[in-house]
């Protein structure tokens, strides 16, 4: 029940953030200079057509009226029509979002698992050659833009060594499993289509790894420093002195509390991962939401841009709540503190 109340409280607070975000993105799309209708219709469209479309989009009304139309539409699941594909933005998003979620989740898993693993090993064996190699790796990971990783991997593993496919989600010969969730890996898992599953994973490796490396380096750095700090604390010495088996000391007494700072920044790292997906999807020609978003931005497709940013805002609200729940699960101080305040 406590957990439910916590989630309800966070959701309630998130509503304000999302309303604020909707105002912000609305202002960005309507107040800044540039004429979206001209952009959509082209410079040679007759004035009456431009005027018609403006009226159709309510762009001729005052800002607060425009915002009202936009928000009431959004609440009914109508995010307007894309100025470019001429389809409802909602349909576009439904089509493209699963591909990005699939990629981001896969990359997020790689990031969390390997980041924590590398950091834990480096922290446990701090100031050895292992620690130094992990440190060098994490510097390279932190300072390299993910689009550079993407280009390098594409070049090395895609074109030169030909180990991985260079674009798309599936090879031409593979039939796509029926869309249940829209995520090819999950769909093929559900339908038991192992060939498609393997092929889909194969296509995801390069983009996912290019996305994951930056966050992975951050996670490794943070885990390393907390583990090596905690290792020197008295309670670890005490546990060892009592003869607690080393495995138990490491996993239960050292790793679990050391993960709190790492998990707290996982949300931020996942956020920057999704931001970088905007570039990486473009490079790997991944037919996802971010590629849709970046194309919308390049074409000044106002409705699509606002919708893309709003959807990302909602995704982050959910991710942050999940992260807070995991942190609360790991950290008894937060759990008990929350209890006392009630």
């Amino acid at each position: 029940m406590k957990i439910l109340r916590f989630v309800a409280k966070r959701l309630f607070m998130s509503i304000f953030v999302l309303v604020g975000l909707s105002i912000l993105i609305f202002l960005i799309s309507r107040v800044l200079p540039g004429d979206p209708v001209r952009m959509a219709l082209g410079p040679r469209a007759p004035e009456w057509a431009v005027q018609n479309m403006r009226e159709q989009m309510h762009l001729d009304k005052p800002l607060y009226v425009q915002y009202y139309y936009w928000l009431s539409g959004a609440l009914h699941g109508d995010l307007g029509q894309s100025l470019f594909t001429r389809r409802p933005v909602m349909d576009d998003i439904k089509e493209f979002l699963p591909a990005t979620m699939e990629l981001a989740l896969f990359a997020g898993l790689i990031m969390a698992i390997f980041g924590i693993l590398l950091g834990a090993i480096a922290g446990r064996y701090s100031n050895t050659w292992i620690d130094n190699s992990v440190r060098i790796f994490s510097y390279v990971g932190v300072v390299t833009p993910s689009f550079v990783f993407a280009i390098l991997f594409l070049l090395l593993f895609g074109y030169l060594l030909r180990w991985f496919p260079t674009a798309g989600r599936l090879s031409p010969g593979i039939t796509r499993p029926p869309a249940i969730t829209g995520m090819v890996t999950l769909d093929s898992l559900i339908t038991g289509n192992w060939a498609a599953l393997g092929d889909a994973l194969w296509h995801m490796v390069l983009p996912a790894v290019s996305l994951a490396l930056g966050g992975m380096a951050q996670e490794a750095r943070i885990t390393r420093s907390t583990i090596s700090d905690n290792l020197r604390k008295d309670y670890i010495g005490a546990a060892r002195g009592f003869g607690v088996p080393e495995r138990l000391v490491m996993l239960k007494y050292l790793l679990k509390p050391s993960l709190i700072p790492t998990v707290s920044i996982l949300g931020l790292d996942f956020a920057s991962l999704l931001a970088n997906a905007f570039l990486v999807e473009l490079i790997f020609n991944w037919p996802g939401f971010s590629r849709y978003g970046i194309n919308a931005m390049l074409r000044k497709d106002l409705n699509a841009v606002s919708a893309v940013v709003m959807v990302l805002g909602i995704v982050f609200v959910i991710v942050n709540i999940l992260v807070d729940l995991v942190v609360a699960g790991l950290d008894p101080r937060i759990r008990l503190g929350a209890e006392r305040s009630k």
Binding site: L32, P33, L298, L302
Partner: protein
């Protein structure tokens, strides 16, 4: 002011020297400083140190197009026959300018808002400032910057404005956390009791205790802002092609991979070196000041 005496020049000089001594004991931060100084030097004197300064902008020489790295062109030439080494030197200018301009625009308002919200913690000022901050932090800065750039005409200047518009909340949040705990310290209460003005308390009592964190964050952020700037140029929403921006150069070069690898790889390495330098300095400062929250 009776309760705040300006430290003597000698005292400041000694403090600076002590700081440098501690900073220089960490070889990694010195390496970072070296990279930053090198990049700044090359950027500042690009017209004089670049072997072919005229290649920075619009220049075409197809007889030397797409040459691999050689003694004449250490980083090779691009498809228009322009020397990539020279263009990288000029590219440093845009990267550093991006970082400096964005931070100069972002830090003062971000810090002042954070100080206000932290000092007036629990009042409506706190609520208004921090809720607005939350909205900006709800989506990664790169995406909001992309969205802003998409409605503006793409240019270096507009990219800077877009990143600045999205970056101040990070400083507000950092300073807010610091200020709201410092405001309960005895020296702040003493100043309040002594009748010090609000601006004295904010800027003379609280702000000096935040400076080390702010500087450390600025050093790390130089790297992040440069990364974001190059990402904007990479997708074509920042600097436009004849401009020798590192992100634009990577994007151009990516079209000619894998055969003419040098066109994209050297500008990419240049971005990495710049960001690495600022990151190493930032880490050194963080260790120096023993900070945790940055």
């Amino acid at each position: 002011m009776a309760f705040w005496k300006r430290p003597s020049f000698q005292k400041r000089w000694d403090g600076l020297r002590r700081g440098w001594y501690k900073f220089s004991k960490n070889p990694v931060s010195v390496v970072g400083l070296f990279f930053v100084l090198l990049v700044s030097f090359l950027a500042a004197f690009a017209p004089y140190v670049a072997p072919y300064p005229q290649h920075a902008g619009r220049f075409v020489n197809f007889s030397e197009a797409s040459q691999p790295p050689s003694l004449k062109h250490p980083f090779g030439t691009d498809v228009f026959g322009r020397d990539i080494l020279s263009r990288v030197f000029f590219g440093f200018r845009y990267s550093l300018m991006m970082g400096v301009v964005v931070l100069a625009l972002v830090v003062p308002p971000g810090v002042v808002l954070g100080l206000l919200a932290g000092y007036y913690r629990g009042t409506w000022i706190d609520t208004v400032i921090m809720r607005v901050t939350d909205v900006f932090l709800a989506v990664p800065p790169l995406i909001l910057a992309l969205a802003v750039c998409s409605v503006l005409t793409p240019s270096v200047f507009n990219a800077m404005m877009a990143v600045s518009l999205m970056w101040w909340p990070w400083y507000t949040r950092l300073v807010y956390g610091l200020a709201s705990s410092i405001r309960n310290e005895f020296f702040v209460q003493a100043a309040e009791v002594a009748g010090a003005s609000r601006s004295h308390i904010l800027f003379r009592e609280i702000l000096p205790n935040c400076v080390s964190s702010i500087f450390t964050k600025m050093s790390l952020d130089m790297g992040w802002v440069i990364l974001i700037g190059s990402s904007l140029s990479f997708v074509g929403l920042g600097a436009q092609p004849p401009t020798p921006d590192l992100g634009t150069m990577v994007a151009d070069g990516a079209k000619y991979l894998p055969d003419q690898w040098w066109i994209a790889i050297f500008p990419a390495l240049a971005i990495m070196i710049t960001v690495l330098g600022f990151n190493l300095i930032g880490d050194g400062l963080r260790d120096l000041f023993a900070l945790e929250e940055v």
